[in-house]
Amino acid sequence: MSTTLFTVTADQFFVLLQHWVVSFLPGSWQPVAATVVSSAAIVLLFPILFALTTVFERKGLARIQNRLGPNRVGPFGILQPMADGIKSLTKEDIVPTTADAAVHFLAPVLLVVAVFMGFAVLPMGRNMVLVDMDAGLLFYFAMGASTELSVFMAGWSSRNKYSLLGAMRAVAQMISYEVPLLLSAVTVVMITGSLSLTKIVAAQDQYSYGLPHWYIFTPWGFAAFVLYAISTTAETNRSPFDLPEGESELVAGYHTEYSGFKFALFFLAEYVAMFSISGLGTTLFLGGWSAPFAFLSWVPSWIWFFSKLMMSIFVFIWLRGTLPRLRQDQLMNFAWKFVLPLCLLNLLVAALWRFMGDGWLRWVVCSAILVLAYVGMGLIGMRSKRLGPRSYRYAE
């Protein structure tokens, strides 16, 4: 009995902590205070995670390239983010004289706000969700879409052609990938029958033969997850889709005219968006806070959520260390001619899955459709590509 009590306490630790903190206040204040406490926790936690991620990313990328990575500030370079933070805080904040100062200031602030709003509906553990909205997924995507506005505000208000071109490129990319992002997430809604993220997690928190009912372990779910992963990579401007920034070949892009702390805010927003969108991917396809095996259910749910989140971040970093950057036309072709048709087909497959009932037949049919479509589109797409060793006319 005591072990069960302990497990429950560990699982609900943060919920109980919040209740305890709030209990010091008069009853009428408590609902507001509870929200404030939870929001503060979110706003504190993710910047800390961001700081840790920047140093682990640099270390991980270095290891992928057989280098050591930062190791000067603190033991193993772990205090590097502190140094970076102090640097960006003490740097001069330059606003171009012809810039629209108000919009120039608002753009990074709005971006960070919009990015943090997404966490409001993400269930980070059992009963650990700030607002349990019925249309949580819709709210999340609405907030996600408003980041594009900030990006364009940044590019427009700088009054610099590089900023504006960078912003237009970034917005074109984000809008192009917003479509497959939504369509891949919609499959989950079709199967679950709910837009509420807590209900989506609850639907996946079941086990048969000790194995979980995560959506990634179904043909349509796997396809949707891969498409979702591709779209999120493009949505958060991560390599290989990091054209908006393209640090090694372009002027910075939409944040060319930003310096000091405002630039740091863009950087923060990019990483926090990565956490948030990984969190959503975890919720939709990887079972949210549920344990990967039934016998591991005693481990606190928030540990599962955050380990899945960090695994996704690791994959992001791994991809960044592996893939070269795409060209703008390749990016657009990929979105509209490959990802989007597969997403649409996947909607059909998810519908088939829903109406074919239980049994092995739906596994065969759904997998066959998706594999054939993938291979077929790959063959058609690669036919005209002339892949292979490159031949040089003048060099060599």
Partner: protein
């Protein structure tokens, strides 16, 4: 198949990631301030002036001919020639630089000064830790800072320095032979003159070539 290359690439980077923790051969990084590797013999940074012997001022090979000053593409050398002459290594009286400045913030390490110097007086250094808090004065090196011994030159560029020494020794030997021959000529001439004097021929120097 589509995506095959991406998977191969991911496998390769994963191999690197884990391999870098296992095998130290993969890591090529030299952690510079603590670990150092000896500079390559052909390395060059900024020029310095070679001197022979112990005293840098007396042993300086430079004779202030100012060829390097004229040839220097970014014009970073400033030389002031002396009014008097001092004997050089060969004992020959030569001018010397009363001032020899190189502004290493301007120098582009092209080594042209070294190529044009007929006296093997200026060579390229391998010292690269030259950062200073004074970006004007600290980077303007005068002749005292530029003067480095021939032993130092042997230390940084052994093969090149040995070649230079051999050539200088050859020149010195040639000069010795010449001066010996000249001495002999004067000696013979003196002997002849005294012989003529002895024969009581009018005291007039014998015409050349007789």
């Amino acid at each position: 198949m589509l995506g095959e290359g991406i998977l191969k690439g991911l496998a390769e980077t994963a191999k690197n990631f884990f391999g870098s923790y296992v095998s130290s051969e993969r890591m090529t990084t030299v952690e510079y301030p603590e670990q150092r590797i000896a500079p390559y013999e052909a390395a060059r940074v900024f020029p310095f002036l070679v001197f022979d012997g112990k005293d840098w001022e007396a042993g300086m090979r430079c004779v202030a001919c100012q060829i390097c000053e004229k040839e220097c593409p970014p014009k970073c050398i400033l030389i002031e020639k002396s009014k008097d002459k001092k004997p050089d290594a060969l004992g020959k009286p030569q001018f010397y630089p009363t001032r020899f400045d190189i502004d290493i913030s301007v120098c582009m390490s092209c080594q042209i000064c070294v190529e044009v110097c007929p006296f093997e007086a200026i060579k390229m250094d391998t010292e690269f830790e030259l950062s200073t808090t004074d970006r004007f004065g600290g980077l303007l090196l005068d002749r005292k800072e530029l003067a480095k011994s021939n032993e130092y030159y042997h230390g940084i560029h052994p093969a090149e320095a040995a070649g230079v020494d051999a050539r200088l020794a050859q020149e010195k030997a040639k000069a010795n032979v010449k001066s010996k021959a000249a001495a002999e000529v004067t000696a013979t001439r003196a002997a002849v003159a005294s012989a003529i004097k002895g024969a009581e021929v009018p005291a007039r120097p014998a015409p050349e070539g007789v």
